[in-house]
């Protein structure tokens, strides 16, 4: 079951430190340009596939199911309200360090969309699944995901 020669140990005596010496500049893409420019104008832009009638928010370049392009379609402006599909309260960051202020993250289905958006909840004490929420916008939007500070109860 185990190797006969028991050289395995959990106490290394010599280590070489290293890392992945890279960082990234990601293109937001063909539809990302439209989506983020919409946020800058405090608009929630979505697109609907003609074949399956699915409305994507955030919008997509193509319907992943019907495999047809959606960028030549009219993008629609959704109303600024949605419902909570699920949520969690987080106490630690991705390193495992405690957060000074725990906060809520939620899956939100914007009214009129068939897909779900992942963002923060703000100004909320006791969120519930099915609760209506609306975006809280930054005063100085700059075409970023955080042009929406979070979603708060309606």
């Amino acid at each position: 079951m185990l190797p006969k020669k028991r050289t395995m140990t959990d106490a290394p005596t010599h280590e070489v430190r290293g890392g992945f010496p890279v960082h990234y500049h990601y293109t937001v893409g063909i539809v990302g340009e439209i989506f983020f420019n919409g946020l800058k104008e405090k608009k929630l832009l979505a697109v609907t596939c003609d074949e399956c009638s699915k409305t994507y928010f955030p919008p997509r370049m193509y319907c992943e199911d019907c495999f047809v392009e959606l960028t030549d379609k009219e993008f629609k402006v959704l109303e600024q309200e949605g419902t909570i599909e699920s949520f969690t309260k987080t106490y630690k960051d991705h390193r495992g360090d405690p957060l000074s202020e725990p906060y809520y993250l939620a899956l939100i289905k914007i009214n009129g969309a068939d897909t779900v958006f992942f963002h923060k909840l703000v100004n909320v004490d006791e969120p519930k699944i099915g609760m209506s929420v609306k975006p809280v916008w930054s005063d100085s939007p700059k075409a970023s995901l955080f042009d929406i500070i979070g979603f708060e109860p309606v």
Binding site: V16, F20, Y24, I30, M61, D65, F67, E69
Partner: protein, 399 residues
């Protein structure tokens, strides 16, 4: 059990670009959708999707296959990514082949993609992490360095003058002028190559291929499905042989002047295709042309020798004398290759397989080889200079 007959029925290529506006999955969509349209089918006809993409560190998305799935048309299908570094672009259609040959699937959509412009400060910084953490990485190696070591060894072993190697850059970058996806078609002279900027002796700037963003897709089908869809054999290239081989990762210990792993992969493919005589003269008559992997000019020559298409040390003179020109006795890299079309790793090798398909179906337009072509080979190479992947295609009506 006998393998089923498998054909490539269409290809789709994006342009290769220095920095595409599209996201990686949007690039994949363009290639995949084009291949489906060219085949006259939709995603609903596809049984399985295969994704080929090289290190996650380029696109900067870990587990790139799950990210690429929707762009590659693989949602809710048996979708899989296979990965052998730079060898991936030829390995992906090999996966398509065995998925169909085995009887598992009938219609497979294969997509190779790479978006190398996302990574900063450079792709070489990402490559730094492929080396051994203890005994190599502290020296800060990158691929240009190790290719310089290999190239020097190759030149020294066979007494190859740099002019003969430079001829490959002139040929391939020239051929790329006729490729609609190409980013670096150039009319050059051997002097231009010799006098270009030194990166790490003996490697100069025009000896190497440019990093790029791009995607290439294929639709592959069983013979039964090709008949069922009424696809003309004029639009089909059959997979006749495949092979792949991986050497040790201890690259320093290999024979740097000769890629034994490419020889092993090639002989596997030739034998599968029924070609038992592996002498260069026979193989150059049997194959109409070849698309060996050319990220560096000397690698095309190195690979031609590993593929048994030229005797050891003899490919450079052949290139210099025009034997491997598009209108030469044995055309090599009529596409323009990685040196000319560009090198979005997995997609670059995908482009080579696509070129073999396009030549065999007479769809290579300005790049069409000016003689009858019945059979072609594409080969890629990668991981830490240790993998060879080979695919042999023949025309749809060739017996």
């Amino acid at each position: 059990m006998k393998n089923r007959k498998v054909g490539i029925v269409s290809v789709g290529l994006t342009k290769f670009m220095r920095r595409a506006k599209e996201t990686p999955k949007e690039l994949a969509y363009y290639a995949a959708k084009t291949a489906l349209d060219e085949a006259g089918i939709t995603r609903r006809d596809v049984d399985a999707a295969i994704i080929g993409s090289a290190p996650d560190a380029f696109d900067g998305v870990h587990q790139k296959h799950e990210y690429l799935t929707d762009g590659a048309g693989g949602v809710n299908l048996p979708t899989m990514r296979g990965y052998v570094g730079g060898g991936t672009g030829v390995f992906s259609p090999i996966q398509g082949w065995y998925s169909i040959a085995s009887g598992m699937h009938d219609v497979v959509l294969v997509t190779t993609e790479e978006k190398m412009s996302s990574v900063l400060p450079s792709a070489q910084a990402a490559f730094n992490t492929i080396f051994d953490n203890m005994i190599e990485r502290p020296l800060g190696p990158n691929l240009v360095w190790i290719f310089a070591l290999e190239m020097r060894r190759y030149m020294e072993t066979y007494g190859i003058p740099k002019e003969h190697i430079a001829a490959v850059s002139v040929k391939n970058k020239g051929n790329a002028l006729d490729h609609p996806s190409a980013m670096l078609g150039q009319k050059l002279t051997i002097e231009d190559v010799l006098n270009s900027e030194v990166l790490a002796e003996p490697v100069h700037l025009l000896d190497i291929s440019p990093v790029a963003d791009g995607a290439v897709s294929f639709v592959m089908m069983s013979e039964e499905k090709i008949k069922e869809f009424g696809i003309s054999l004029d639009d089909v290239a059959w997979v006749e042989g495949v092979g792949w081989n991986v050497d040790t990762t201890m690259w320093t210990n290999r024979d740097l002047s000769y890629p034994k792993y490419v020889e092993k992969a090639a002989k596997q493919a030739y034998t599968m295709a029924g070609q038992k005589d592996h002498s260069p003269e026979t193989l150059r008559k049997w194959l109409s042309f070849a698309e060996p992997y050319d990220p560096f000019n000397y690698k095309e020559l190195h690979h031609l020798e590993g593929l048994q298409l030229f005797e050891k040390g003899k490919a450079p003179l052949a290139a210099y004398e025009g034997v491997t020109a598009r209108d030469g006795d044995f055309p090599v890299t009529p596409s323009g290759g990685l040196l000319g079309v560009g090198n979005p790793i997995a997609a670059a090798a995908g482009m080579k397989v696509a070129e073999v398909y396009l030549q065999l179906t007479g769809k290579a337009e300005k790049r069409q080889i000016p003689k009858d072509v019945t059979r072609g080979l594409a080969q890629a190479w990668g991981d830490l200079m240790q993998v060879g992947t080979v695919i042999i295609l023949k025309g749809g009506r060739v017996e």
